[in-house]
Symmetry: C2
Subunit: 234 residues, 2 copies
């Protein structure tokens, strides 16, 4: 649990999961230092949503790092590859989808580690989830465990025997559980953005994996998704 | 050992260690994909040196990633903190120096992992060294071991049972041994840059930890350092 003036670094994409994670860190009493990436996504809606979410919860600082994952290529989220669309979660393809961005969470956590060390924080929060997710390797529990072991030896704190703890509080929650938890904590989900392939005006497509998982999650939670969709709403 | 058309990603700072590492990967038969960071250093001499070194050895590709570690602060290499200077390696202070950049090698290796996965490489080379070094936590063997374990679960290759191997061939070599090995492999050390705090015209200061370790290494190897120094040469 947090204590007065303890700082936490929270990876904030601006989606349902990271917004709920931010609220969880807030509820535990941490001062919030949010970290968002402009990583060559095809759109900027995520970053704008993250800014709104960080502001709403009163983050002390919100750093937006710009990095260029397009220099390497290799994902539908950063390249000209088409984002897959379907009509329900059952139709989401098996295996690791083309929307996977190689090493993205490794890179994000690496930056979070540096940020935490600089501000004297001993807690990093990441909203990964291994239940209702897209099958990315770097969302699994064993990935978080391995990153924790790396963090234990990678920093000054590690050398002196202290450590920076990596929290992944959503890792074994279903999307519906995450949404209920967020609602309980007062997260304004109308500020969040999940879509991989939004319309030019930022409207969610409703049919990419991320939209489908989100819509199904709200449905399973028995709650109304407050964001509008371009093609057939929630 | 490398084999025909096997690709390796090599982290290349443009210093003695990474130039030697690049030459080692070349000697093992790898196609070379070099990766350099402009990370908010106070100077650009490192990046220019890396470009020269990559060109000299015939790298297939050289990606320069620009990231902003100054957004977090916390190091003499990126902030306005003074770089410590002394007259010999014996005078280098104990503990972790102010030139330490939090989580730098974690961030660099994370990007290398993404790069390797995108181009279909199964080998990453990093020129860290835990003998004649500045005491950074992320240069130690346990750090490389922990990163390897992370890489084993962080990527698509990890999921399918294959893996990306992290090579740190210099980790237990002295600076003199590294320099001798580089010479044997034909590295043109006149292209390399080591100084933490070069003059405006790029001349090495000769007195920061990095210059001192380099100069002592050439002396111990019985070789002449081909680069000029601003204040009293090698």
């Amino acid at each position: 649990m947090g204590y007065l003036n303890a700082k936490a670094v929270i990876l904030l994409s601006g989606g349902v999961d990271s917004a709920t994670t931010l609220a969880l860190a807030y509820a535990q009493g941490f001062e919030l230092y949010a970290l968002t990436f402009r990583y060559g996504q095809r759109h900027d809606a995520e970053v704008r949503a993250a800014e709104g979410v960080a502001r709403a919860v009163g983050a002390v600082q919100h750093v937006v790092q710009t990095i260029d994952l397009r220099a390497f290529g290799g994902s539908a989220l950063t390249d000209a590859i088409e984002v897959p669309k379907s009509d329900s979660v059952e139709q989401i393809g098996g295996g690791i989808p083309v929307t996977y961005v190689p090493a993205r969470n490794t890179i994000f956590l690496a930056f979070a580690l540096g940020y935490a060390e600089v501000i004297g924080s001993t807690d990093i929060f990441i909203g990964v989830n291994a239940v209702d997710y897209s099958g990315y390797p770097d969302c699994r529990p064993e990935f978080i465990v391995a990153f924790q072991r790396l963090a234990d030896v990678a920093t000054k704190a590690g050398v002196s025997g202290a450590s920076i703890k990596v929290h992944a509080p959503l890792i074994s929650m279903s999307k519906a559980e995450i949404i209920r938890e967020g609602m309980r904590l007062g997260v304004d989900f109308s500020l969040t953005h999940s879509c991989y392939d939004p319309m030019p005006e930022g409207l969610a497509c409703g049919h990419c994996d991320s939209c489908l998982l989100r819509r199904q999650g709200f449905r399973d939670a028995g709650l109304v998704d407050p964001i509008p969709y371009a093609m057939g709403g929630s």
